[in-house]
Amino acid sequence: MSEQHLPRWLVWAADPEQARRARFLARSPLFVGLPRRLLARLAPRFFEKTYRPGEIVFQEGDPGRALFVVVEGAVEITQATTQGEYVLRTLGPADAFGELALIDDSPRSATARVATPARLLILYKSDFDALMDGNARIAVVVMRNLSRLLAVYARRVPVLAIDPGPPPETPGPP
């Protein structure tokens, strides 16, 4: 991937780790459609961390400040209900989660727990914002992919009967 950008005489200087990471990111639904040049710019911004089974990546209600991409292993996204914990999804390699943190600082809406030994790529919002400042194309592609993912989530969620709540109090005579 990225080595191909280098002239032949400079191939010896290529960093295989960065090239591997950029190749891997191209498979993630969140980064589909990003040109190789921009994937190569994105790849060094990620941190990598190994997690053990049962470790919590983040908890429901935590401030969201990073996006995670599964490199190896499985991660469960769960939500606490009155009946107990409910597993919403189990994510595998190339799946991304916590992506809403790239949009705002709202608290996490679910908990992410590592199911099998896992390696995750981590992209902090501040690093992503800095990258977007100089590359509008990254912002456009990632936000378009993010909208698609959100549309998929929205269609999956069953239609809920929304309780409109008590009617607003009508002011009485003074």
Binding site: A19, P44, K49, V57, G61, P63, A66
Partner: protein, 351 residues
Amino acid sequence: MKPGRLLAWGGLAALAWLARGLVLPVFLAAMLAYLLSPAVAWADALAIRRSVAVGALYAVLIAVLVVAGFLLGPGLLAETSAVMDRLPGLAQQIDVGLDAAVRELAESAPALRRLLPEGGDWVQRFVLNRGLGEPSDLFEHMGHLFLLAILVPFFSFFLLRDIHRLSAVIMERLPPQHVETSVAVWRELNGIVGRYIRGVALDSLAVGGLAALGLWAARVPYPLLLGAFAGLANVVPFVGPLLSAAAAGLVVVLTPGQGLAGVGRVVLLFLTLKILDDTIIQPFAIGRSVHLHPALLLGSVVVGNHALGVLGMIIAVPVATVLQETARLLLEHRRVLARRDLRRHPGRLVV
């Protein structure tokens, strides 16, 4: 605490005390690394190995310094040696002027006589005691500067080359609950500090270059030296621009044939530079993301001067900015966590 851990902490503290002399070079090296990091990030994006990228960057930097030294060095050296040669004479000239002013003041207002300083040759004494000092002091200062000139690029090289490896090791050892808390704050701070330091450097370069050009156009002697001084002094808020304007004004006053018109040109030049800096250069280079309260600005400069002299005055504002931004981000983070705890335990009062 376990005895082993206590011993390790004690050993670390002793090591830190022994290596306290390295704090300044490492701090300056970190600043240089922040300045050069965009070039390394650019090489990262091309998937070039860090060692190759940093090595090439240093080669380019050395080449640029050699060319700059070749172009500007002789002029700067000639101006410096001319100033050093003329310094005693200049100091004497200033003292004569000051003596005359003090005498005139004492004659016109005898009541003030008690308040006026005794003796004369103030500037000459200052130049001898503080400026040049004893030859041994001069050699010591030169030795320190030489050591800094070697150590700062050396440490900076390794910081640029290995910081990602160090970060990866720390990240692997970090408990998962810190990944989205402490590291996120550190990443944000890293971005702010990097932008600020690069902005200040760009601002100083622009102000120094424009001052040198303006002084050369205004036919003021020593334009390169005064321009370099204006660029460096520009880092010190309020005081810096005043000092550089005063230095240029003094040179004009003491140069035969310049007269009041020369002083007027210098004042106009530095006023224009200040307005340009405040309205165009600074907003472009630094932006408005970091803002220190004027009282904090001045306070940090005073503390910096007290701790490390001129160097302290130069690095005071970046250090104060880092401290202020760290405090702001940590407080913001604490507030977010407090809101989360309040949501999880609505009955509990979270302070």
